[in-house]
């Protein structure tokens, strides 16, 4: 398994190909529906003026995302009453919901990787080539193992979005993923979909 430490360079991004297993280490942030929507509306399309601590949070995540990774995850977190947060379960959530936003968010921050599950669509694959970045597929449901690779919760922002939707800044060690969309226009999801379609047709004709 190839070891990669964050931040990731463009050169490393371009050297990754679909099907490759990677262990990621470093500081990354979680973000799902509420976070992507908030970023796009407030800072990219600017259809909504920044409110409350929006600008502060933006400044805090900007350096982390430059060369960094955003993880589609809604964790189970212990220590909510004491503030001594600990990830109990932290598997990936379905990524396709962020399809309208993802490429724009990655471009805006110069981010190099998305972690999620299920893969993403054409707009994101296009973005992978242009920005460039890659899509890392985590193992859906492997929550305990991934939680164990989360060494430390560094900070949390936007807790008002709810625990699963907040921005958790986490330090991970050897987080296991597989590249399923690379910066050269390849998508393992497209490939598997095509071969399984041909196999289905053969089985239906039998």
């Amino acid at each position: 398994m190839r070891e990669i430490t964050l931040p990731i360079s463009d050169e490393t991004v371009r050297s990754l190909g679909v099907g490759e297993a990677v262990a990621l280490s470093g500081v990354m942030i979680t973000g799902r529906d509420a976070v992507h929507k908030w970023i796009v509306e407030t800072f990219i399309k600017k259809t909504r003026p920044p409110q409350g601590d929006d600008l502060e949070v933006y400044e805090a995540i900007k350096p982390l995302l430059n060369g960094g990774v955003i993880y589609h995850c809604g964790p189970v977190v212990a220590g909510l009453d004491t503030g001594e947060y600990r990830f109990v379960a932290a598997g990936p959530t379905t990524s396709i919901r962020e399809e309208p936003y993802q490429a724009d968010v990655m471009r805006h921050f110069n981010a190099k990787g998305v972690i999620g599950k299920g893969g993403m669509g054409a707009k994101t694959l296009q973005g992978c080539q242009e920005v460039p970045f890659v899509y890392f597929h985590a193992i859906g449901g492997a929550a305990s193992l991934i939680a164990q690779s989360v060494r430390r919760v560094v900070a949390v922002h936007k807790l008002e979005f709810g625990v699963p939707e907040a921005i958790w800044v986490i330090e991970v060690e050897r987080f296991p993923v597989v590249v399923t969309m690379d910066a050269h226009g390849n998508s393992l999801h497209e490939k598997v979909e095509e071969t399984s379609k041909a196999n289905l047709e053969a089985l239906l004709a039998a």
Binding site: M1, G19, A21, C73, G74, P75, V76, A78, V88, A89, A90, G91, T93, T94, K117, G118, G119, H137, I139, G140, G141, A142, A143, S144, L145, I146, A147, Q148, G162, V163, P164, P176, V178, T180, L188, H189, K191, V192, E193, T195, S196, K197, N199, L200, L203, L204
Partner: protein, 291 residues
């Protein structure tokens, strides 16, 4: 009747953190089938490591602890209202102890109740009365959202798939459902299939089918043959664990036949992810047994 809240809490803990051995055995067998160094094998290795860790640390196998589905067979004379109250109290406590993630969102307001309670269907509790001398049996299944989203219901005949109103037609639509799901239901999955019923009872029965053990053969020889064939053919699709490609797409298939109206022929496919969390407790007097 004793207060069973603590015992039900233990049932929830076991269900969320300890994968049943029949499921784990299938996952181990599947691992051996996949090529050394492939993404598919890597995925299964990670899954199995995760299963062990969850068991050791008593943490949820998957962070989506799903919809809690309770199936209760209670002896005549026992109060279902009292049982419901105890189940709900146990669910709330399990949420506080992070065996369950707060998962119940009001569909109208978008508000999460925070403790996995909601309305009369959340958590879902099915009651069935049995004879007074029978033990109380509570089965719990945790059904995740990702795999629930790829479930499908077909109405036969289906001309697009060339599926008629017979087991051959059922086979075709079931394979189509697996193809459409790709890796999105956290493959390798288990198929719960109901044939017949109305739309509601059909989906209900497709979940009940999933309460059977993976190694338990179907008493109906035709359905047993269909189960084996579907598992084998689904694995020929090449979708593989997580949709990475590979030989393991489905770990097993469970089929249940129902009565139907002459006018309707529904086939409902419930897809259960590899995190196939189901456990049973049997209560006889003061004795509680977990399986």
């Amino acid at each position: 009747m004793n207060d069973l809240t603590e015992a039900i809490l233990e049932l929830i803990r076991r269900t969320s953190t300890d994968l049943p051995e029949d499921v784990e055995a299938r996952l181990r067998a599947a691992l051996e089938q996949e090529e050394e160094g492939s993404a598919a094998r890597g995925a299964l290795e990670t899954i199995l490591k995760n299963v062990e860790l969850a068991r050791e640390n008593s943490t949820p196998i998957c962070q989506d602890t799903g919809t809690p589905l309770f199936y209760v067979r209670y002896p005549e004379g026992m109060s279902t209202r009292a049982l419901r109250r105890q189940i709900i109290a146990a669910v709330q406590e399990a949420t506080r102890r992070t065996y369950l993630r707060p998962n119940a969102v009001d569909a109208i307001t978008g508000r999460n109740s925070g403790d996995n309670t909601g309305d009369e269907h959340y958590p879902t509790i099915h009651f069935e009365e049995v004879d007074a001398d029978q033990p109380l049996v509570i089965e719990l299944m945790l059904k995740g959202g990702g795999c629930e989203n790829v479930g499908a219901q077909y109405k036969l005949p289906d001309s697009r798939l060339g599926a008629g109103r017979d087991l051959e037609g059922v086979r075709k639509v079931a394979l189509d459902a697996v193809y459409k799901a790709q890796g999105k239901g956290c493959a390798p999955g288990v198929l719960g299939i109901a044939i017949g019923g109305d739309r509601g009872s059909s989906y209900l029965a497709s979940k009940e089918a999933l309460l059977r053990r993976l190694d338990d053969p179907n008493p109906n020889p035709d359905l047993d043959a269909l189960e084996k064939r579907l598992t084998e053919e689904a694995n020929q699709l090449g979708i593989g664990p997580m949709g990475f490609g590979g030989k393991t797409t489905v770990l097993g298939t469970k089929v249940k036949g129902l009565h139907r109206l002459p006018a309707s022929y529904f086939v409902s496919v419930s897809y259960m992810c590899w995190a196939y969390r189901r456990r049973r407790m049997t209560v006889r007097g003061d004795e509680v047994l977990y399986e």
